[in-house]
């Protein structure tokens, strides 16, 4: 059945059963393959997208649940002029990606965190980002990249490590 979606600022109509996970609609109906399939049960975070600015696991979200909501994927993080989102830029500067497969989800999770809390302390970064698995173990760099983006780094408990 046709379902109306707003993805990366565009109105899209897809033909899918209401229980189809958003992930497969994004990837295979809309061709937005930057969002990855990792586990299918919301355990790894590779499929993380933003729905109304909040991080959400698209692999375990039925598409009908997000109709008419604002959905942003990794493809929507680059602005109209091709400029990268600050989180993407920090990821490059800190040489975060290795195999890179989980990084779309990591970036979406980090951007959502910074969106609601521009100065997360170290513990908050750790706690929030613990929901996104990385088999290459890029965690120290993910942590460092997010720290580099927070406002008033000192006040938020900057420490050397």
């Amino acid at each position: 059945m046709p379902i109306e979606l707003r993805v990366n600022g565009r109105e899209r109509t897809v033909d899918a059963e209401p229980d189809t996970p958003l992930l497969w609609v994004l990837r295979d109906e809309l061709g937005l393959k930057g969002t990855k399939f990792g586990c299918g049960i919301g355990q790894c975070g590779a499929c993380t997208v933003h729905v109304s600015g909040e991080a959400l696991r698209s692999c375990s979200t039925p598409v009908e649940a997000v109709a008419d909501r604002e959905i942003t994927t990794i493809e929507g993080m680059v602005d109209a002029n091709g400029a990268l989102h600050p989180v993407q830029q920090a990821w490059i500067e800190h040489n975060v990606p290795q195999c890179g497969y989980c990084q779309s989800g990591q970036i979406m999770a980090a951007a959502a965190l910074l969106g609601r809390n521009p100065s997360p302390d170290d513990e908050t970064i750790t706690a929030v980002m613990s929901g996104n698995l990385c088999r290459c173990g890029t965690y120290p760099r993910i942590h460092a990249a997010i720290r580099s983006l927070r406002e008033s780094g000192e006040a938020a408990g900057e420490q050397s490590s």
């Binding site: 899918a16 059963e17 189809t20 996970p21 497969w24 990837r27 295979d28 061709g31 937005l32 393959k33 930057g34 969002t35 990855k36 399939f37 990792g38 586990c39 299918g40 049960i41 355990q43 790894c44 590779a46 994927t73 990794i74 493809e75 993080m77 680059v78 990268l84 993407q88 990821w91 490059i92 040489n95 975060v96 990606p97 290795q98 195999c99 890179g100 497969y101 989980c102 990084q103 779309s104 970036i107 750790t126 706690a127 980002m129 613990s130 929901g131 996104n132 698995l133 990385c134 088999r135 290459c136 173990g137 890029t138 965690y139 120290p140 760099r141 993910i142 942590h143 490590s161």
Partner: protein, 739 residues
């Protein structure tokens, strides 16, 4: 790895005036050197193509799975060609003779060999191209080639005023004769090697544009899933597919060698239909064991057979028989899944030319044989496109997903993408083999007098050879593939087949000086499919050897770092990393009184790594606070990639040390997804400091060597903390009284 005397860097031109640099392998070639088509579009065995528009295209013949070949190997070529690494266009290599890994004579990315085996060849390829460009420019300007300077893709006239771009002379360069000797830069003149740190794949990977196997898109493509036997050795007996076929979007359901395939117009439709399949399995010959039964069998095998002697110095047996006191220990390393973040997948399509395969594979040439094995296509009719890999760690050296996708595609008239679920990925992995280790040792004062290490468990080559053996002889008929594997097995250790070190590597090279050393392997195989897993034998031998070494240090009453150093008198590179890591971690310095430190040092894949772990236990939970790491991997091409690989190996090892274990309920794999096959997560990742040791040795591996020491270093820290020895992984807060 030196350039073989039988290999030559060759140049050629194309009809469109491009310069092509490749490799020929005279005498043993399967398809000749760089053959060039008129339009220059197809250049088998080429590494570099420089065209008149200024593009430099590098064919990357080692896959990028996170370890950094995309950046590292490009840096080698760019350095000698005098172009900026970021200006090089990189494509993934098709199957080609020149792309074979000289270490294995297979087009394999593994064994932490990519930089070591490319170090000379790719620099020569870059230098050869530069030499021809310079000769061409010398002809144009009528000056001595030696007086021409090159930089960032441009040639500079000795008069200091005239310049030309490489693209201005590529056509002329292609007609120059390649010099017999191609000199390479001296290290002091390196501009990118040792300095270039920016990953060339980072932009694609932070924007979601990198194409992994799972992202391959073909027109009119359908999706497939496969139901595989729930127990190893089971077979399909009967299938009731009526309910599945009635599901929306289902294209077909049929049985292939490895299970029952469901093909549908979308992945989700295929999955939903798969749930409706009713399959009866013939489980008469199926595996019904579990971790305990396998290790019971290992113990019995170890009791019954002394095994093959793999190293012997002095006479450890008789010394141990006479010793006043013999120290013994037994360690268990369980079966482990690879759990790459990208689940296994493959896209296949029958075309007018043959069969096309798109796969995230570590071995495109073995993928080709795997596809030929299960279809009517010959290897020559099969083209393999390699994508970015969402993790490898050895998982993608075997090609079951390619076999499945090829078999499915042959029955369809349109392209098909096969996707494994995470549950299928965990339950149908080719696992890191579980291994049993037994030690006996005696001390002479504070030194080791005799060391006897018995390793019991299976050999990986028995599983890998199935397709790999035939890959080395792709012209043999399909019905001989299994024969090739058996011959390969029978001739192991001869000139035909190298010895399988998978069970013993990291144990036979025990670096510690002792007059009597015995290392032996007792074969025992539960029949559970196994394969290479990051660091392979070093992953369990490192744990066993470095834990036992710690036990002996404790028995001798000597500090663990000091005890190791005393047994490394003639091992300067081991000593250096150990001393550097002790300094970095402030080994003897104070720390939180609830914390403790443990140490390990291990050589693997040509590199020396020492690590010190600081850990504690709080509320019955093991906490890893800091890992200090020193590595000597010879000359370093991209320093930050070396650091990244150390961080990666450490966290991969900690996943195994804290969580990793595959077990079975009467032959059915118990774990299924990340909730019960846990990976290390952000809140478990320790602080790390990585020390890179200066070296002028040739480069050696970094993808795997960071892993082996971290497991024993953590276990040794927990012993220092609790007085209880961790003799099996994953570690537990309270392992009970063990000594």
């Amino acid at each position: 790895m030196k350039l073989s005397r039988r290999e030559f860097i060759k140049a050629g031109g194309t009809g469109s005036g491009a310069l092509v640099i490749g490799l020929t392998l005279p005498g043993c070639s399967r398809s000749g050197g760089p053959r060039i088509t008129e339009d220059g579009s197809w250049t088998p065995n080429a590494w570099l193509v420089l065209d008149g528009s200024g593009d430099v295209t590098f064919t990357l013949d080692r896959v990028e799975m996170g370890q950094g070949t995309y950046t590292g190997l490009t840096t080698l070529v760019a350095e000698e060609l005098d172009v900026h690494p970021e200006s090089v266009r990189i494509i993934f290599a098709p199957v080609g003779d020149a792309y074979a890994n000289p270490e294995y004579i297979l087009q394999v990315t593994g064994g932490s060999t990519s930089l070591a085996t490319s170090w000379e060849r790719l620099r020569k390829a870059g230098a050869g191209a530069r030499a021809l460009l310079v000769k061409a420019a010398a002809e144009v300007w009528q000056v001595e080639p030696g007086d021409i300077r090159t930089d960032e893709g441009a040639l500079y006239h000795p008069d200091g005023t005239q310049t030309m771009a490489y693209s201005d002379v590529v056509e002329l360069a292609a007609r120059q004769r390649m010099p017999d000797e191609i000199p390479l830069k001296l290290p002091e003149n390196f501009r990118y090697i040792g300095r270039h740190d920016k990953r060339l794949d980072a932009y694609a990977k932070v924007t979601g544009r990198a194409v992994y196997g799972l992202d391959v898109e073909r027109p009119d493509m359908v999706y497939a899933v496969v139901s595989r036997p729930p127990r190893v050795g089971a077979k399909v007996d009967a299938v009731d597919d009526s309910a599945a076929l009635a599901q929306k979007g289902v294209v077909d359901v049929f049985t292939i060698e490895r299970g029952v395939a469901v093909v549908a117009d979308s992945y989700w439709h295929a999955r939903k239909a798969q749930e409706k399949l009713r399959i009866e399995w013939d489980e008469r010959d199926a595996f019904r064991g579990d971790h305990e039964s396998i290790f019971q069998d290992y113990r019995k095998a170890a009791d019954d057979s002394r095994g093959d002697t793999e190293r012997s110095n002095g006479n450890a047996r008789s010394v141990l028989r006479r010793a006043d006191r013999v120290f013994t220990a037994e360690y268990e390393a369980p079966f482990l899944a690879h759990a790459t973040m990208e689940p296994q997948n493959c896209t296949a399509e029958v075309t007018a030319r043959g069969l096309e395969i798109w796969a995230p594979t570590q071995a495109p040439d073995i993928a080709r044989i795997a596809a030929a094995r299960v279809t009517a296509f010959s290897p020559g009719d099969i083209e393999v496109h390699t994508t970015f890999l969402g993790g490898g760690f050895g998982r993608r050296l075997t090609q079951e997903y390619v076999e499945e996708a090829a078999a499915i595609a042959e029955k369809l008239d349109r392209p098909v993408k096969l996707i494994w679920s995470r549950e299928e990925d965990i339950r149908h992995d080719m696992y890191r083999p579980g291994m049993l280790h037994r030690f006996q040792a005696s001390l002479n004062g504070e030194g080791i007098e005799a060391w006897d290490h018995q390793i019991t468990g299976p050999l990986i080559f028995d599983y890998f050879a199935r397709n790999a053996a035939a890959t080395q002889y792709p012209w043999v008929p399909r019905f001989l593939y299994d024969t090739m594997a058996r011959v390969g097995r029978l001739t192991e250790g001869t000139f035909l087949t190298p010895k399988d070190h998978s069970a013993i590597e990291g144990a036979v090279e025990v670096p510690y000086g002792a007059p009597n050393i015995l290392v032996r392997h007792t074969q025992a195989d539960a029949g559970v499919p196994i394969s290479y897993w990051r660091a392979v034998g070093h992953s369990h031998n490192g744990f066993a050897v470095e834990t036992f070494m710690d036990e002996l240090a404790h028995e001798a009453g000597v500090d663990p770092v000091e005890f190791r150093l005393r047994h490394l008198t003639d091992k300067p590179r081991h000593r250096a990393v150990l001393e550097k890591v002790a300094e970095a971690a402030d080994w003897k310095g104070s720390m939180n009184e609830d914390h403790a430190r443990g140490v390990a040092v291990h050589w693997s894949f040509g590199s020396y790594v020492a690590q010190i772990v600081e850990a504690s236990i709080e509320n019955q939970r093991i906490l890893v606070h800091r890992v200090s790491c020193a590595i000597d991997c010879g000359q370093i091409v991209n320093p930050d990639i070396v650091r990244m690989q150390m961080e990666s190996g450490i966290n991969f090892g900690l996943s195994a040390a804290l969580h990793g274990r595959i077990d079975w309920d009467e032959g059915r794999v118990r774990q299924s997804n990340f909730h019960d096959y846990r990976l290390l997560q952000q809140d478990e990742s320790p602080a790390m400091d990585i020390v890179l040791v200066d070296s002028e040795e040739d480069p050696s591996g970094v993808g795997e060597p960071g892993l082996p020491p971290v497991i024993p270093a953590l276990g040794n820290a927990l012993f220092a903390l609790t007085g209880k020895r961790q003799r099996s992984t994953p570690f537990v807060a309270d392992p009970g009284e063990t000594s």
